[in-house]
């Protein structure tokens, strides 16, 4: 709104309640996040006695110290970083390789291949046939099981394809091909540089997916040393499997339990921190991804 508008009384009331509604929504979402953050920096007794309300009480890092005493956390962190980087690279390469040909209107058989891809969004084999396939391929309890089954998201292929179709015209390729440019060369030297934005969206979507994923690890992995962070988190947060070594500082059972309660808040922060740190810088790319995805292909 550029010009100063004189509001009628009923509009004033409307804007007041409208902004109030937004404020309530803001607080409902924000409060649990602040609480976890503050609890994680408090000491154990404040956490179990309910003294924490908004800010850290008796500021302390003992929760974080306990988290990093658990060897599973560091191993899991390392594994997750590996799965996220390797998995995302594989995802992005495969997505581009699928999306570019499918964006070319001259490609004979394009529709059939597109249906072949799209059908998998509506129907799939389900848990057991997938499990048996991974087993037959000998990938159970290997790092491959974390990379290959999820190597491509058809949804992202459609987003990238829509983007290529609307930004890189058929004429552009025709002009290039008259000068002797092949599809591979065109993809590398024209399409990729012109579509950095969509590649960034892909990297972010796939990256967050890998960071947060636990299902494939849960079904296919059995060895501790391969577990990603999310499986370790599940053990600690949900299965309540606290490593006794991380809470050995006292003999008192209440204090032990208190530390076990506290370290859960700390590990939530530790596990989510990388995403919170990049989120402010990349929010607009995520939004862009959703918007492109909402255009019918």
């Amino acid at each position: 709104m550029k010009s100063k508008i004189v509001l009628t009384r009923s509009d004033k009331t409307f804007y007041f309640f409208n902004d109030l509604l937004l404020l309530i929504a803001l607080l409902i979402v924000l409060y649990p996040l602040i609480y976890i953050f503050s609890a994680s920096f408090s000491d154990r007794l404040s956490v179990i006695s309910g003294d924490v309300f908004l800010w850290p009480v008796h500021f302390s890092l003992e929760g974080y110290q306990a988290v990093f005493k658990d060897p599973r956390v560091l191993t899991g962190y390392g594994n997750t970083i590996f799965y996220t980087i390797a998995g995302t690279i594989l995802n992005v390469i495969l997505t581009i390789l699928a999306a570019y040909p499918l964006s070319r209107r001259t490609m004979v058989g394009r529709n059939i291949i597109m249906y072949l891809f799209a059908f998998t969004m509506l129907f799939n084999g389900g848990l057991i046939p997938n499990y048996l396939l991974i087993k037959d391929l000998g990938m159970i309890d290997t790092r491959w099981a974390m990379l290959l089954p999820g190597a491509l998201s058809v949804w992202n292929v459609i987003i990238a394809r829509t983007f290529y179709q609307s930004t890189i015209s058929q004429e552009l390729f025709e002009a290039a091909s008259i000068d002797g440019c092949s599809h591979l060369r065109f993809m590398w030297s024209v399409v990729l540089p012109l579509s950095k934005a969509i590649t960034a969206v892909m990297v972010l979507f796939y990256g967050v997916f890998h960071w947060n994923a636990y299902f494939n690890a849960f079904i296919y992995l059995k060895s501790d040393e391969l577990y990603p962070l999310q499986i370790v988190l599940r053990d600690i947060l949900i299965q309540n499997q606290i490593d006794p070594a991380s809470i050995t500082d006292t003999e008192d059972m209440t204090r032990k339990q208190g530390l076990a309660d506290l370290l859960k808040y700390s590990i939530i922060i530790v596990a989510s921190l990388p995403i919170w740190l990049v989120y402010p810088f990349v929010q607009k790319y995520f939004v862009k991804g959703v918007m492109i995805g909402s255009i019918k292909g």
Partner: protein, 312 residues
């Protein structure tokens, strides 16, 4: 999808394919992936009609027809998992679907640009929390001993409730935590639709004396109606397809009567079982996939007939 630009004759088709041979080379890898990791498992669905023996493999195990399906339909679990699945889905749809629309309309209407950005920034954040962390947060907040909800209720003299241990609380916890996590993110698509509404319509309405509330009712809402219908179709089509991850993490023996849904039941009778019945689990999964597929086809057909919009 649009049909190809021009109907090509066979000769021209071949010529075009020769010219574009690199396109087929490029798509070879993703295509191979789809065939191996998506279509092979579909081929494995024949297990649902067989009696799986590990020694024989999928191909050579003996056929048994619809035996596993009949077993499932007649089992005492059938009614329970179907009921739980449907109740949770409808609860989620009714409580969760309108909220992003309301929030988007409010965000779109506010005059405070900076405030709007802050609300967007914060309400999108929970979307990036992993399922495991989300369920961990739920357990912490609802903990009868140290959880902030029970401690807050304690201030008013209420007895602590073991939310996760009581079946009647399960569905509400599942649905409302999901609403907390996804409502903000869900506004993006509506905000995009709202920003596409021409400002001239708003100006005209204002000149005619419409209040802001009337403009929401008669300009904004009709403007995003196609988007609303499309998303409603998508949601209605997945009414039987509650995902495994969150619900499984929230389950415990105490709330199982209220929390067992089709996807978790498939896991219970197969990979989690000491006597896994792969064929039975495949049959249940197949039944579920078929229902999902038919539902989405039906709602899309319905939407096309209604003339509003369709998914493809």
């Amino acid at each position: 999808m649009k049909p190809n630009t021009s109907p090509l004759g066979d000769g021209r088709k071949l010529k075009q394919m020769r010219q574009d041979y690199q396109l087929y080379l490029i798509i070879l890898f993703p295509l191979a992936w789809v065939i191996i990791f998506q279509y092979f498992p579909m081929y494995g669905l024949q297990l649902a009609f067989k009696d799986f023996r590990i020694m024989d493999g999928i191909w050579s195990s003996p056929w048994v027809g619809f035996e596993h399906f009949e077993k499932f339909f007649n089992s005492y679990q059938f009614k329970r998992v179907i009921t739980n699945t449907l109740i949770i889905s409808f609860y989620d749809l009714i409580a969760g679907f309108p909220l992003p629309i309301i929030l988007a309309l409010a965000l779109n209407a506010t005059l405070k640009t900076r405030f709007k950005q802050v609300v967007q920034f914060v309400t999108y954040m929970p979307f990036f929390i992993s399922t495991v962390v989300m369920v961990g947060m739920i357990l912490q907040f609802l903990n009868p001993r140290i959880g902030i909800i029970n401690m807050g209720m304690g201030l008013f003299g209420a007895d602590p409730i073991n939310f996760m241990g009581e079946p009647e609380w399960f569905k509400s916890v599942y649905v409302w935590s999901g609403i907390w996590q996804t409502t903000g993110w869900g506004t993006i698509i509506y905000l995009a639709a709202l920003s596409a509404i021409s400002p001239e319509i708003h100006e005209a309405a204002t000149i005619d004396g419409a209040t802001r509330l009337q403009r929401i009712r008669h300009v904004d809402l009709p403007g995003i109606m196609p988007t609303i219908v499309t998303l409603l179709i998508l949601n209605a089509g997945s009414i039987m397809g509650i995902g495994f991850e969150k619900i499984f993490l929230m389950q415990n023996p105490l709330n199982l009567s209220s929390s067992e849904v089709i996807s978790t039941y498939v896991y219970t009778v197969s990979l989690a079982s000491s006597a896994p019945d792969y064929s039975y689990a495949t049959a249940i999964g197949f039944f579920n996939s078929m229902v999902n597929f038919i539902l989405i086809m039906l709602v899309n057909q319905f939407a096309k007939k209604a003339g509003e919009t369709s998914l493809w």
